[in-house]
């Protein structure tokens, strides 16, 4: 099955200090299926690297993150210039109790990469029970840190 397009939403040098959404995609307009291909958090930036192992989780849920910052969806491959049917946000408050699919942790000097094999790429469907997918800090960082990160997804339908 070939996607309509492959997109990236990425943020640079944003400070995070609380538990909550790092980045989230919302399948906003149907018919649409969104498949996540990659997600990452860069190492904590600066001249005095932070020495901490931070918990992270990939989640799905049924309500969009609130008070997040809208992000641009940029095309990597495909025929459409921008993803009009998926909305990406960073930061904000998770909109509904999330179902955490994957728990992990990373040293803040290394960063974190989620790169599933094709057969295990998580999918969300517009108007389904869980039509949001994202990364969150389940636990607040010990101190405010500045990260870059992003998410790559394919759209079908």
């Amino acid at each position: 099955m070939r996607p309509n397009g492959v997109y990236v939403a990425s943020f640079g040098s944003i400070a995070y200090s609380t538990a909550g959404t790092i980045i989230e995609i919302q399948a906003s307009t149907g018919p649409l299926m969104v498949e996540v291909w990659r997600a990452w958090i860069g190492p904590a930036e600066g001249t005095d690297p932070v020495d901490e192992v931070q918990e992270i989780a990939l989640y799905v849920n049924d309500a969009a993150t609130t008070s997040g910052t809208a992000m641009s969806e940029n095309e990597l491959q495909g025929s459409a210039d921008a993803a009009a049917t998926a909305v990406a946000v960073r930061g904000g408050t998770i909109g509904a109790t999330p179902t955490n699919l994957i728990f992990d942790a990373f040293h803040t000097q290394n960063g974190w990469l989620y790169l599933p094999a094709p057969e295990e790429r998580p999918r969300i469907h517009q108007a389904a029970t869980d039509d949001n997918i994202g990364l969150q800090f389940p636990v607040a960082p010990d101190q405010s840190m500045t990260f870059s990160g992003g998410i790559v997804w394919a759209e079908y339908g």
Binding site: V6, F11, P43, P49, L76, Q77
Partner: protein
């Protein structure tokens, strides 16, 4: 439509001993010329070289735009394909920052003692098309490094000719 296409050639442009200043800089960029599509297979930024490794985490970003930002010529060398040298693309290093908040599409960061690799899956390789508004792709250090350093930089890409 997405999907893998057969490349007319696969090339590498690599430069060593790049003197990165204490200002924002484009480390390496490539431009697809007329009737050519260019697809990034890999970008590698080596660690900061020297006997006292730099203890700093620096942001790095990829941008796609319409104008090449100058810099030093890098010779494109063939890895696979029919043509000996790439006559359908241009690569440069250490140019002016080519991106900005409006054209950066991929943000990351890396520890200068480790280096950085961008290796997208085949289906997500960013692609630019010659003679369009977006035929240039590059990798910037968008934030000033605390101190100047020396590193290597490489770009591997495939060309799809019309």
């Amino acid at each position: 439509m997405t999907g893998r296409q057969r490349y007319s050639g696969v090339y590498v442009a690599s430069a060593n001993a790049q003197s990165v200043p204490t200002s924002a800089v484009c480390l390496i960029w490539a431009q697809a010329l007329t009737n050519t599509q260019l697809e990034i297979i890999r970008c590698v930024v080596g660690p900061a070289e020297g006997v006292a490794p730099v203890d700093e985490v620096l942001p790095i970003a990829m941008w796609i735009t319409s104008a090449g930002p100058g810099g030093s010529i890098i010779v494109e060398l063939k890895l696979q394909g029919e043509d000996d040298a790439s006559n359908n693309s241009i690569t440069r290093s250490l140019g002016d920052p080519g991106g900005g908040a409006s054209t950066y599409v991929w943000y990351d960061a890396y520890h200068l003692a480790k280096g950085w690799v961008f290796e997208p899956e085949p289906e997500e390789r960013p692609r630019v098309r010659g003679s369009t508004g977006n035929d240039v792709i590059g990798f910037d250090l968008p934030v000033n490094p605390q101190s100047a350093f020396t590193c290597s930089v490489s770009l591997v890409y495939g060309e799809i000719e019309a």
